[in-house]
Amino acid sequence: MKLDSVPIRLERCAKTFPGAARPVLKPLDLDIAAGETVVLLGPSGCGKTTTLRLIAGLERPDAGGRVFFGAEDVSARPIEERQVGMVFQNYALFPHMNVRQNVAYGLSIRRLPPQQIARRVDELLALTRLDALAERQIAQLSGGQRQRVALARALAPQPRVLLLDEPLTALDAQLRESLRTEMNTLLRNLGVTTVYVTHDQAEAMALGDKIVVMSAGAIEQIGTPRDIYHQPANAVVASFIGTMNQLEGVWRDGALHCAGGRLIAAPGAQPRSRLWFRPEDVILTPSGGELHGVVESATFLGGHTRLSLSGVGAAPILVDAPGRTRYATGERIGFSLAAEVWHTPLPDTETTTC
C-alpha cells in the first residue's frame, strides 16, 4: 500500500490562546517535504502539540500565519476538509464501535460502496495485523492493539498527511520499542508525509528523517538525528538529546589543560577552553591515557556500563564503557576523547528554561 503525499509548509504560524498572557507558539516557519517523517521533539508545554494541531486544522494560527499543503493554502480549512489522518495520545477510539467499525468509520463518512469499504478495511486490518481482532470491542484490546487500531483508522481514508500525537506514550517501555520499529517500517512503506510529536528522544531518533527540537514555543534546531545529536545548535538541544558532558579547562600550547590532565587538540582544531562531548566519545585506555578520573559510581546497564568520573573537570564526566569490564568505585582510570569532539560546534552556553 502506497499513499499519495504532499509537502507541508507553515509560514509565520503563531498561536495565542484566548485569555493567555503569552503565546504558546512564537511565529514559526517550517518546511516538510512530501513523504518525509518529521518528529517534533521537546518537553511538555513547549508548543509541539499546538504545532501539530495547527497542521491538523484543530487550531487556527494567529492572524498572519498560514498553512500550506503543497500549493494549496489550507489555513482557513477545518480539519474535516484537510484530508489528514490523526492518531491521538490516548487513541480516542470510538468505544461503542468494534475494531472493524472504527477502522471503517472514515470510509463510511465518504459514502463508499459497502464492498469497497470492506475490502479496504480488510487490507488495513491485515497491514496492522488486526485481522483476528476485527470483531472485538475496544474495551477488550490491549494498549498496543489499540494503538494499531488508531493507526489503521487514521490510514483508512488515504490521508495526504499523517499526524501522530505521542502515539506510544501510553505504553510500556518494552512494547514501546517493538511498536516503534513496527511503525517505522510501516511509515517508510506507506511513504506518506508524517508529523510525529514526542517527548522521547529515542523515539525521535529512531523514527525521524528530520527532528525539530522545540522549547518554549520556538524551534531550537531542525536537522537529521545525526545533526541534532552530534552538532546540537545550543545548550537546550544538547541537554535535551541524550547526555552531554562539558569539560572546561585552559588552552595552552595546542592542548586543553584541566584537573584530569592535558588533552592534546586534534589536528586542525581551533583553540578551545571548553569541550562538549557524549559519554560514548570517551575512549577508555586501560594503560595510561591523556586524562584521568576517579570512578564515582559504575552502573551496569547491559550493553554498556555507565561510569561517573570525578576529578576531571568541574562536573563529573559520564562515560559509557562498552564490554564486560567491571569497574570499582574509587578506581582511577585513564581515557582520551574521540578526535571528532574538537570539531563539534560549540553550543552557546546560556541555558534557556522551558
Binding site: A56, L58, P78, I79, E80, E81, Q83, V84, G85, M86, F88, Q89, N90, A92, L93, F94, P95, H96, Y105, G106, I109, R110, R153, A154, P157, L163
Partner: protein
C-alpha cells in the same frame, strides 16, 4: 482484595445495621402493601381492569410521564451541551438560574403554574390583551405537563452536563479528522457517549413524574394522575384494597423503567442517583 481492611468483627458490625434496617423497615411495609392488594380475592386488581377510571388514570399518568421525560431530555440535552461546550459571559449565572427550580417543591411549582396559566395568570392576561380571549391551561394536561417539566429540567440538565463534561474532546476531534460533519459527530460520537446518562436521567425523570403529587394536587386538575387516585381511594374512599393495588401497579411500572435503564440493580447509578 480488601480482605484485610477491617477485622472480621468490624465487618459484621458494619453489615448488621444495614441488614436490620433493611429487614425492619424495608420489606415489612412493602409486603404489607402486597398482602392488602391481594386480599378480598384480588378484587383490587379486578377493579383496576374493569373500572375505566383507574385504567384511564394509569394510562394518562404513563403518557404524561413519558412525554415530560422526552421533552425534558431533548431540551436539557440541547441546553446542557451548549452550556458545557461554550464559554460565554454570564454562563455560570445562567446555569445557576436554570437550576433555581431545584429549590422549589412540587406544591410551589403548581402554585407558579397557576400564576402563569391560571384564571388570573400571566398568559391569560397577555392573551386577553392580544386576542380578547383568556387562555387558561393550568388545570389541564398542559398545565400539569408544564409544571412537571419545570420540576424535571434542572435535574436532567445537571445530570447531562456532568456527563457531557466527562466526554473526551479527542473523540470528537478524531471523528472530525475522519471527515465527519457536526451532525454526524453528534449522532455517531456524542449521543452514544451520553447514552448512559440519558438513560439514567430519563428513568429518574420518569419515576419522579409518575409519583409527582404536590403539583397535581395544587393544580386540582381534572386529570386524575395515579398518585392522586391512590390518595383519594385511600383517604377519601377508605378503599384500601384498590389503593394498594394501584400503588403496586405504579411501583411496578416505575421499577420496570428504572430497571430497564439499569438503575435498579445498582448497575449504572452514578449519573442518576
Amino acid at each position: 482484595m480488601n480482605d484485610l481492611t477491617l477485622p472480621r468483627h468490624w465487618r459484621a458490625a458494619l453489615l448488621a445495621p444495614a441488614l436490620t434496617v433493611f429487614l425492619a423497615f424495608w420489606l415489612l411495609p412493602m409486603s404489607r402493601l402486597a398482602a392488602i392488594s391481594v386480599s378480598a380475592g384480588g378484587a383490587g386488581y379486578r377493579a383496576l381492569i374493569t373500572n375505566p377510571r383507574y385504567l384511564e388514570s394509569l394510562l394518562s399518568t404513563v403518557i404524561l410521564s413519558a412525554l415530560v421525560t422526552a421533552v425534558a431530555l431533548a431540551l436539557a440535552l440541547v441546553a446542557g451541551l451548549a452550556l458545557v461546550r461554550h464559554a460565554f459571559p454570564g454562563r455560570r449565572t445562567l446555569i445557576a438560574m436554570l437550576t433555581l427550580p431545584l429549590a422549589f417543591p412540587g406544591v410551589v411549582v403548581g402554585f407558579m403554574v397557576i400564576m402563569l396559566a391560571g384564571r388570573q395568570g400571566l398568559i391569560g392576561a397577555i392573551s386577553r390583551e392580544l386576542t380578547g380571549h383568556n387562555t387558561v391551561f393550568a388545570y389541564s394536561m398542559a398545565g400539569l405537563f408544564l409544571g412537571y417539566l419545570y420540576f424535571s429540567i434542572p435535574r436532567v440538565i445537571l445530570t447531562l452536563m456532568a456527563a457531557a463534561e466527562k466526554l473526551d474532546p479527542a473523540l470528537e476531534e478524531a471523528a472530525r479528522s475522519l471527515g465527519a460533519s457536526p451532525w454526524r459527530i453528534q449522532r455517531d460520537v456524542v449521543l452514544p457517549a451520553l447514552r448512559p446518562a440519558l438513560l439514567a436521567a430519563g428513568a429518574m425523570c420518569f419515576a419522579t413524574a409518575m409519583g409527582a403529587f404536590g403539583t397535581a394536587f395544587t393544580l386540582a386538575t381534572e386529570i386524575d394522575v395515579l398518585p392522586m387516585a391512590i390518595y383519594s381511594e385511600f383517604t377519601l374512599n377508605a378503599n384500601l384494597v384498590v389503593a394498594a393495588s394501584l400503588s403496586l401497579v405504579l411501583g411496578a411500572v416505575t421499577w420496570l423503567v428504572l430497571a430497564l435503564a439499569g438503575l435498579g440493580g445498582g448497575g449504572n447509578v452514578a449519573a442518576a442517583a
